[in-house]
């Protein structure tokens, strides 16, 4: 199993979720994060001083998938989350050694 982590723009969540709905993806976990990268920070103003707010609000999705779902899931997320402008975010994945479903005690792919 793999854990996909996707950093996306907040307002893309709905579209990404709809895209995953159409695939065999059972769930995900979403975290509000602040990102910093190539995307120029926006300018904010505060009491007469202009400043760069370098951290952009982003969402991080964590999605556990079977190994054979990785490619299509990445593609689905990319398609849904892409705007083509700096700051669209990244998708990366790591190896997950085992999963347990708390409710039932299921392990491995059963637990997804």
């Amino acid at each position: 199993m793999k854990k996909l982590e996707c950093i996306i723009r907040p307002h893309k969540l709905e579209e990404v979720r709809d895209a995953l709905d159409k695939m065999d993806v059972h769930g995900m976990t979403v975290t509000e994060v602040r990102g910093f990268g190539r995307q120029k920070g926006h300018t904010e103003h505060y009491r007469g001083v202009e400043y760069k707010a370098e951290f952009q609000p982003k969402l991080k999705l964590e999605i556990l998938v079977r190994d054979n779902q990785v490619a299509e899931t990445m593609k689905a997320v990319q398609d849904a989350a892409k705007t083509g402008k700096f700051g669209d975010g990244k998708i990366f994945f790591t190896d997950v050694q085992d999963v347990l479903r708390i409710r039932t005690g299921d392990r491995g792919e059963q637990a997804l």
């Binding site: 904010e44 103003h45 707010a53 951290f55």
Partner: protein, 465 residues
């Protein structure tokens, strides 16, 4: 007049001051006897008018809290700023031309004169003793600046209503321009018809504290804005169903709701513009009871229809009851006010559902509250009015007065609605062509706080340490 008294707070002895004001009549009395009863009444009325005007001013905070609470955090600074600045701009516009258009002598459609409060005026003289250009306000015995200040806070209210309708998608500058049109031109013109001695007043239309003059006018202007702006991104799904966009803080909605309720004790009872014991207590009573009843009915309606006592409907219900009782508060009995409120609470729930179904995206429910119930309240005068109430005047339909009053109310509602809506549509369209109205979709999604204001409402703390 010792050195002690020459301090900054030294005050002209009141007797002299009053002399200056009331043509010397005060002098006839021995100074030790204090002011004359007529003078005392002017003082009392002025106190009442000013204190209630302060309460109405305070409603700006209420509108800001309710509206921002019902919108998303990413637009909160923008909405708060609109509500803060709208009063300042309205005040300036109303001072320069609005008040004159509304209350100065002129014809049945328009007051002419009174720019910057200039022109003859011997307020607080009343009735036939009044000599000046604001004859339509000669029924209240307070200084001109009290009249102006009280009317000003009402004009500000009308402008504020619009800000809720067009929230979360309009350019800040475009909204400000519209505010100037509304407070300087549109509101004063229709106000002249009803409160400035214009043709609707002559026809017998009655609107005690402004269900039509203030609330419906704000609502019609907002409706025009909504139609031209279109719904917020994401409000309606492709299948046509509604995707609610919850506001970010029920605490702000709660606080705003109670601020408005409190402010209405200035709005309605203050519209007596006189410290008249019977009238102000009657109006406070009808105002409060209609509000309570509308809370009851809107909460129950929501509970029954949806299975949960939707709190935003409770607050909207309260406001609906208050808007509805605004026109009739001095003309109807206490019992009638309860009925008017009960119905207002039902209307607001159905109006919210109706506007949603029509894809008229009104983020804070301003149309359901101010437009729908502004109309209802205006018509309610024609139904429930009784000559026994402190406001007096003709009986309504249910008290044996026939259709006369109801007809006047209906004509007034239609005329003001049609005029205001047409003028607003025109104004919004011109602003759209010249300045643009709607922010870019990308900016709308990032939120207006960053794109328009350059300032988040709740900047993240830990990230900056």
């Amino acid at each position: 007049m010792t050195t002690k008294m020459s301090g900054a707070r030294r005050w002209f002895p009141l007797a002299i001051l009053l002399t200056l004001m009331f043509n010397g009549t005060a002098f006839a009395q021995a100074p030790s006897e204090g002011p004359s009863p007529a003078d005392l009444k002017v003082m009392l009325d002025t106190l009442w008018v000013m204190m209630t005007a302060f309460l109405v001013f305070w409603m700006n905070a209420g509108f800001g809290c309710v509206e921002s609470g019902l919108c998303r955090a990413k637009n909160a600074t923008n909405i708060l700023a609109k509500n803060f600045i709208v009063f300042a701009f309205s005040a300036i516009a109303y001072w320069i031309i609005g008040f004159g258009i509304m209350f100065a002598e002129g014809n049945s459609f328009l007051g002419m004169g009174g720019l910057l409060l200039s022109g003859a005026d011997n307020s607080p003289a009343t009735g036939d003793a009044y000599q000046g250009i604001f004859t339509s306000l000669n029924w209240t015995g307070v200084p001109l600046l009290a009249k102006f200040f009280f009317q000003l806070v009402f004009a500000g209210t009308a402008a504020t209503i619009v800000s809720g309708c067009v929230a979360e998608r309009i350019h800040y500058k475009s909204f400000i321009i519209f505010t100037l049109v509304l407070a300087g031109l549109s509101y004063p013109i229709t106000g002249h018809w009803i409160w400035g001695g214009g043709w609707l007043a002559a026809m017998g239309m009655r609107d005690f504290a402004g269900s039509t003059v203030v609330h419906a006018v704000g609502g019609w202007s907002g409706l025009a804005g909504i139609l031209i702006l279109g719904p917020r991104i994401g409000k309606y799904r492709k299948d046509g169903s509604v995707q609610p966009i919850p506001g970010h803080s029920m605490a702000l909605v709660f606080l705003g709701g109670l601020i408005l309720w409190l402010g209405w004790f200035g709005f309605n009872p203050g519209s007596t513009m006189a410290a008249d014991p019977r009238a102000i207590t009657h109006v406070a009573m009808t105002t409060n009871l209609a509000c309570c009843m509308a809370i009851l009915s809107s909460t129950l309606m929501a509970w029954i229809m949806l299975g949960k006592p939707d709190f935003s409907m409770t607050v909207n219900g309260a406001l609906a009851g208050l808007v509805a009782i605004t026109a009739p508060c001095a003309f109807v009995s206490v019992t009638s006010s309860a009925i008017i409120g009960l119905i207002a609470g039902v209307i607001v729930v159905f109006a919210v559902l109706f506007f949603d179904k029509r894809k008229i995206d009104d983020p804070v429910g301003a149309l359901s509250v101010h437009l729908a119930n502004g109309i209802w309240g205006t018509l309610a005068v024609g139904l429930f009015a009784t000559a026994d109430a402190p406001g007096g005047g003709a009986n309504g339909l249910f008290n044996g007065g026939g259709f006369a009053s109801l007809q006047a109310q209906a004509i007034g509602t239609l005329a003001v609605g049609a005029f205001t809506f047409a003028l607003a549509l025109t104004a919004w369209t011109i602003i759209k062509l010249v300045l643009g109205l709607r922010v870019d979709p990308e900016d709308e999604e990032r939120g207006l706080d960053l794109s328009e204001m350059g300032m988040e409402a709740y900047p993240h703390d830990p990230v900056r340490g």
